[in-house]
């Protein structure tokens, strides 16, 4: 294909002597002098915390009922609906009126995209999106939340 040679604008005299750069440095200097003043826009995290909106979706957690029983019956619907396949469940038989509960319930927080589908699909209202957003770990294994952490 043919190409077109773009004709660039000639630099003006002041541009050729880098005078606009000096103007830019002036702006920087102005902000430097204002530091510590009232016009600050940055939030001082982690000393200052963010006010979360009501429907904020943080890390998913499992809840217990009033008798302290895990509400999850490991129906695996969350595992099925989870778009990044972060959830893996091993169901098992438990004592009591409800026959089934999770033996293993893992959420890989490196995979979780905080979509909240698990909460929405749960027929037992056993999984909720918490307000926890400070998630870190020093290994991949640490970022898999097991049942005791959920």
């Amino acid at each position: 294909m043919a190409y077109v040679k773009v004709k660039r604008r000639e630099l003006t005299l002041s541009e050729r002597f880098y005078l606009p750069v000096i103007a830019g440095m002036g702006t920087t200097l102005k902000h430097m002098l204002q530091m510590g003043g009232t016009s600050r826009v940055t939030m001082e995290y982690p000393e200052q915390k963010w006010a979360l909106p009501d429907r904020y979706r943080g890390a998913p957690v499992l809840v217990k009922d009033q008798q302290g029983r895990e509400k999850c019956v490991s129906c695996s619907l969350c595992e099925y609906v989870c778009p990044p396949r972060a959830i893996s469940i091993v169901p098992g038989e438990i004592e009591g009126p409800v026959e089934k509960g999770p033996q293993v319930f893992d959420i890989d927080m490196l995979r979780c995209i905080f979509c909240g589908y698990c909460e929405e699909v749960c027929p037992e209202q056993a999984i909720f999106m918490s307000e926890e957003y400070e998630l870190c770990g020093s290994s991949r294994e640490e970022m898999v939340h097991h049942k005791d952490r959920l």
């Binding site: 019956v73 490991s74 695996s76 409800v98 026959e99 027929p123 037992e124």
Partner: protein
Amino acid sequence: MPKLTIDGRSVEVPKGTTIIQAARQLGTDVPHYCWHPGLSIAGNCRICLVEVEGMPTLQIACNTQCSDNMVVRTASDKAKRGRADVMELLLINHPLDCPICDQAGECKLQEYSFRIGNDRSRFDFPKVHKPKHVKFSDKVMFDAERCILCTRCVRFMDEIAKSDELDISNRGDRNEISVKRGGELESPYQMNIIDVCPVGALTSQDFRFKSRVWFLESTHTVCSGCSRGCNVTAGARWNKMLRLIPRENAAVNKWWMCDEGRLTYTDVAAADRLGAPMVRKDGRLVEVSWDEALAAAAKGLAAAGDDLFALISARLTNEEIWLASKLCDALGTPHRDTKPRAFGKDDLLRTGDGNPNSAGARILGVAPGKGGAGLANFASQNLAGAALFGEDLDDRPEAIAALQKLAFVLVVDSRESETMRKAAHVVLPGLTAYEKDGSFTNVTGRVQRIAPCVRSPGDAWPDWKILGWLVAGNDRGARPKTCAEVFARMAAAVPEFSGMTHGMLGTAGLDVRSAAPAQGSV
């Protein structure tokens, strides 16, 4: 031959055909719980209501015989309303515990509720409670609350398993299925009631809570328990076999299979599976590469020549047995045999022969040839070597002792064995019937495909590949690439399989090409 119209399409059926069967001929599925093609008609669930012109009320399609000029509407508003009402009544006392119910996903209550039922119940009185998780036996779990009393299980036990162990007890809304005389179920076919149960009332203890059914990867294959070769659908997840359920094949097992066969899949996940080829060095078996092991095997076999005893398992596929026979032919050895294996026996399905491919072994001529030794007398013949294809001799210590005296012993098997540890010079890891392609010939001479349900462990090879490479020797071009290729070569050479291909066998299988079908059991 009555000629009738169903949903505007006319169909001609033999006298005595019911509407539900006629509709199935047209591909129209009328909802049904209690009706099962393999059982007698009960007509108690009432979900198969259809509108028949000229009749004052809706009729049940399962127990209304077709007559001439009948006009049936299966999907008219009236029929749909009738079914929705039946659904509502069936669900009045249903616990709605789908999240913990193993039937969820393959439950007809769920299916029809979604398709034809209401989205909520109008019944706000307390539900009737009945016994939950009752152990009918160590194989079957019963939940009376989920039961819709269709009596499919009762009829199966009476009519097919021929052991009247189940019945309905109590009256009215306390009706429930119970084991007669308060005992446990004993029938060797009891797990079929789990499959015939249209709801979650009867569930498997073996599969209990292992996985939701919608996660399962299904494979159509054949049970390797006995020489009947019941058609099954295998369910696997995380590369682990989780269950076998029977698959309809009118020519073989109809809709059923035995409990013993259902649990044959557990061999696949055995702890002692072989995952790497081994060669004995300084008295110990050492893991080596396939090249080295195959070379050692070929050398040993060639050295033994026509003094080699080949034990060819009738659990191997037709393709593998054919290749093994070819290998024996090339060596010129007449010493070939299979090992009998016991299995339950009755008049329904179980044949008493625990080798799934005995007929195939017979067709392909695995038996002591002229002047050849068999399993019973090979120890007393002055032989030079032995090759065990898919078998061990752990149940015959004297045979192991005889093997130890031989100059060369090759073992091709999927699991570790005493035989292998004590006597083998070369061990080549093969696969179980649920991990490889191939075909079995069953007791009535039906050739049926098997298919891999899970991946093979470690670096094990399918037996047809091992044998194919041994047969090909140094001729790389002759090494088979697929099992279908081996089958095609076999079909060209063996008249019983002539003209067949893997594709033609399909999911239902074909009968062997011969006037006289293979004889019964061992």
